[in-house]
Symmetry: D2
Subunit: 384 residues, 4 copies
């Protein structure tokens, strides 16, 4: 094994998510930043790369140049994969170009601007055999993996109900009118796609619900709202759900919940028990039983499943957080990639990261939920 070489697209100075990606990539020492096209502005790209201790030659003017040039380098000098940390509207083209030039891809969610683009990427991944990892960060938490394992092990019996909510308050005023960079692109249909809140955080909630429950959303009925006057995309929504096993559910995603930080919470109930997890206290998994005291499972303890322990870095009681969950995506992707490069079969644990298929489901969720929100029809089939 060797360190994998990462080429970053986006993530220049002051970009929020680019810095997060670099921390996540750095954390386990499996990946090194090899090159970048950090901005569509070549000056900013250079300056950004310099601040990251990259040689100037590895700070490209554009992702097109980066992919084209790197693809011509000898194997031991070129990047292994690209990481795409740009706004949604610059996901598809660089991802497709990277795949076409033989590079693996790690990409922010939602994967593309449309379901159609997502399907094209899916097809391309299938054809090329390359790996695409999608950053549904919250599935990287050790206690989320523990939850998924316990559901899969039938600890709770048949799943009957899922309540997932994702509450944020940062868009409770018209922040995009105040030149806030994050708000600007996320509320702009040209850059974000047909959905704001549902695309940005609703997809996380939907993915988490399906990831833990092992179920698929089969039908939905959505109330999609623009609450803040003057906004162009939805900033709030409530969705009734039916899952493929008959379970019902509810998904709330809102960015106008004034005073909320990043309140992703999920509760799942089965015949024999239930679980509850809060992203803001991620090291506790609350397990409920019909006839015994509630239990608090905690990250890093010996009683946890292997998959949970494999995604944890500290002893119990030494809290892990968002960056470690993010780093788990990078770690599992990197291990999978390293094994593939060495001709070895990755383990199931390594392969436990969101894939292009999750990206397709995410885009389908957006299109279905927005269509339902606009319709007078009560129940919509979840179509892909």
């Amino acid at each position: 094994m060797r360190k994998l070489k990462m080429g970053m697209i986006g993530g220049g100075k002051n970009a929020f998510i680019g810095a997060i990606h670099r921390i996540a990539a750095n954390m386990d020492g499996l990946v090194e930043l090899h090159c970048g096209a950090f901005s569509s502005n070549p000056e900013i790209s250079k300056e950004s790369g310099k601040g990251l201790f990259l040689p100037e030659a590895k700070c490209y003017d554009s992702y097109e140049k980066m992919i084209a040039i790197e693809s011509q380098l000898p194997q031991d000098q070129k990047m292994d994969f690209v990481t795409i940390v740009t706004p949604n509207f610059t996901h598809f083209a660089p991802a497709m170009m990277a795949l076409n030039h033989g590079f693996h891809v790690l990409i922010d969610k939602p994967m593309t601007l449309s379901l159609d683009e997502a399907k094209q990427l899916q097809q391309k991944v299938k054809e090329t055999g390359l790996i695409l990892c999608l950053t549904h960060t919250y599935s990287g938490y050790p206690m989320v993996k523990q939850a998924r394992k316990m559901v899969a092990d039938n600890d709770f019996g048949k799943i009957r109900k899922v309540i997932v909510e994702y509450t944020q308050g940062w868009l409770s005023s018209l922040l995009e009118s105040k030149e806030n960079k994050q708000a600007l692109w996320r509320t702009d249909p040209a850059k974000s796609g047909i959905s704001g809140c549902m695309g940005d955080i609703g997809t996380h909630a939907a993915h988490l619900a399906e990831y833990i429950s092992g179920l698929k959303i089969a039908q939905l009925c959505a109330d999609i709202n623009i609450v803040v006057e003057g906004r162009k995309l939805d900033d709030d929504g409530n969705v009734l759900l039916k899952f493929d096993n008959g379970a019902n559910g509810i998904l709330v995603a809102t960015q106008i919940a004034t005073g909320e930080e990043n309140g992703l919470k999920i509760k799942i109930y089965g015949e024999k028990g239930g679980l509850e997890w809060h992203q803001m206290e991620p090291n506790s998994l609350i397990i409920k039983w019909s006839d015994a005291p509630t239990q608090i499972y905690r990250t890093g303890n010996g009683y946890l499943s292997n998959i949970s322990m494999a995604n944890s870095r500290t002893p119990s009681g030494h809290p892990e957080g968002y960056l470690e969950a993010f780093a788990n995506l990078y770690k599992n992707f990197a291990l999978t990639l390293s094994f593939k490069l060495e001709g070895k079969e990755p383990t199931q644990e390594m392969l436990d990261f969101p894939s292009v298929d999750d990206g397709v489901r995410g885009m389908a969720f957006i299109e279905n939920v927005i269509a339902s929100g606009k319709s007078d029809q009560k129940w919509f089939d979840f179509k892909i």
Copy 2:
């Protein structure tokens, strides 16, 4: 002022809610148990009354006899009001009879078996000028009253979103097949009415949402479920809400949330801030701001509103609970009644208990939500 004389209908030995009512009535020393028709079985009624230290003459064979006989007694020897703590199907008749004989009424929710009955009671109360108090217990908590006051004072700006959930797990198996008394009548359409879960706890959730927010539900879209096989009434539901000011909301009520005890929780968001309250930790009210730290308002502190302080009995840090909230209904009802009996005008604080109008809205909620659940139409107007 003098102690008010209470006649109890229902609440015999082993009845859950009757004992609760007596504790609530006892707590402040404003009410004394004067007589009772504790059971439709005269023997049980007698035995129950004896255990409560009532003379045998005051243990009636039936509520009909009790009302008829007591109404003939001199003013200083007869009961002042009846409290009705029977299952739903025995609410309307005794309430109507009591009102017709000049007795005030305190009654369990939901008020009747149908909206039509509820309207008849409303009409009768209007005609007679008698007082009817409905036991939406949760509105009796001091921090619920603080929340309502802060919304009314516009502390949070215009209300935009309401998330209320009421999760219980006690009906996650077919308990009614095991001779469980509480489960038997609550899942029996003849005794409970057209709804199980929505009538039993959904009405509490709806009342709490309207009580705190000061808004009225204007439209709803319901997913109503019978989750446990063999059950005759709904045990679960999720409802999309629109309020009369345009705010949106979500109401979840379920009795199949395995491992949940009595999880009534509400979150309300306005333009400037939000609030959160959990019935199981009732002495904390969480107040959220867009640009300042979250605050924890706590029962009994000097910074609270008068209405909150008036409904609290202990110094801060000495927790109050469900029984005190229940007792607040009795206390405010009793003070209102005493003032009326003395020809005085009750204060706004005294009048702060759920009335026959709330009972009508509750029955309308049940009828609307069940109709919506059966329909393919997305949005239902909330009709009364």
Copy 3:
């Protein structure tokens, strides 16, 4: 059985703890207020009794008159017991007089002004066979009883460590200089005794530690402080403890912990597990294991011990609080007394209330801890 007749000493208008006692006494309908000497001021006593719906003849000018007159009444017309809710300096005399006239006693803690007085009461109780109940309220909580039961059942193995803290902030300024009634007597050596904080709340903490652990404090080393300038009695202290089985411990009691309400918390650790309980969230008992997830035991659930269930009035999830804990003392005292009056043997569950022996230990705690605080000697034997 019949309702027991209570005579109250103290607890006039605006007295905090008198109102609490009446609620506790009322709650279960086992006790009725029969008479009172509510104040050393006869006018206030009368006015107070009137507000409680007592006939004027039952509102006595002094406790001496009340005891003397009531003791002359026929058995079915006189009070059964006195409840003493005055400041510390008026505990001993009325208690002794009541016992001497054949009345049972319920009395606030600390029991007396000195250990010597406490021993005299103990001797008198022994001689007369009358019952004395001391209001260590916190031992009345159902989850405290559950904790005690689990320790007694050896669920945690040998107990090794006890951490108890009782933090309040209400005396963080010189409140007694502002005519605050509660502060005035509690900080006045003539009315409170040789200790302020340790007598007022330290005794509660010590009692709780011994009650749950089943151990006795054998040695202590105290740091006793007057933090607020101008105060006459201790308002803060930290105490190292050794228990009779060799376990060590720490007791913190402070009334200058600014911003704290009534923060009584206890943690106990044994060889196999541990427990944690917080008075301000009294319905949860946190149980910790060396090799399994932490469990949250909750009031009212079927998995609890009989003793815990017997001291609970609501279904799980319907929170009980301080008043219910207080009422448990009255209930168990009243049941014990009723059984004795009927010549029956009270059950162990009924007898589970603090007695005159606890009162003696409490006074010994005060005297030992204050002596230790003044001494340069490190360890003090706990002497009675």
Copy 4:
């Protein structure tokens, strides 16, 4: 600026804290692993380095060789600093050798085996002008820094009381008899020094108390225990404290609190308010006021101080944890070092990491607390 080159001493395969250090060093991309003497066993050192993608030449057989050889390399090829992650007994010698060869030092706590060694290092640091950073990790948390800032800003008035407790349960059985590597050296006087628990975690608690409060421990009275039979060093202790401003305090450190993970908690009270922080929920800082609702300050919010924001990497609601706190030590050390290397003056924010002076105080704490524990004298002056 450039990446700093780190030479690691200790931290071979399976070493717990070495892996933690590497993650912390990696996180911000400011430091690269340059070389290592990962084990006293040269084979293990080589193997460990290989797993970290180091060239074989940079995997040294011993720290002596590493320091000697690296010191001879040209400036741009040699390490900038050593990080010492070995058990306590191998701290002093490599640190002194590194300083003598001109290398900066980052070192685990407690700094040395004895106070005398600590003073020698302090003297050497003073002479050489080199930088020594001590890993009191918990002072790296953003909310700890916020707490310290608010105390320094006099938000709470004069500090009156400090309650700090550090509870772990992992040594509640004789784990060292089961070949547990961590337990073996930590309970062995030859490797750990004169103290087990107080050295390992008591020093963290003491440092945290002094760091946040800005006070110094002036006197102490300790109860130091070996609870688990057969153990050679203390595994538990309770300490009464007096601070230099007259405030009192209590410090509990225990490793036999069965079922506890890593329960470091601190409460500090001043005249006007108080604060509370729990390491296991590190992103919340609870602020209490005498006359206003408790506030929850949360990591990453705009209302925080600059020093808190500078030590945070994610938006609010995206939890940070232990590794980020650890990385803050590395980041601030690295920025300070980089500035020095470039001849610039580090900012106060950069200089905010524990230094050799903290190391000396930590060793003094150990020697004083152990001496006090053995003595019959009540109060001990804190001597350095």
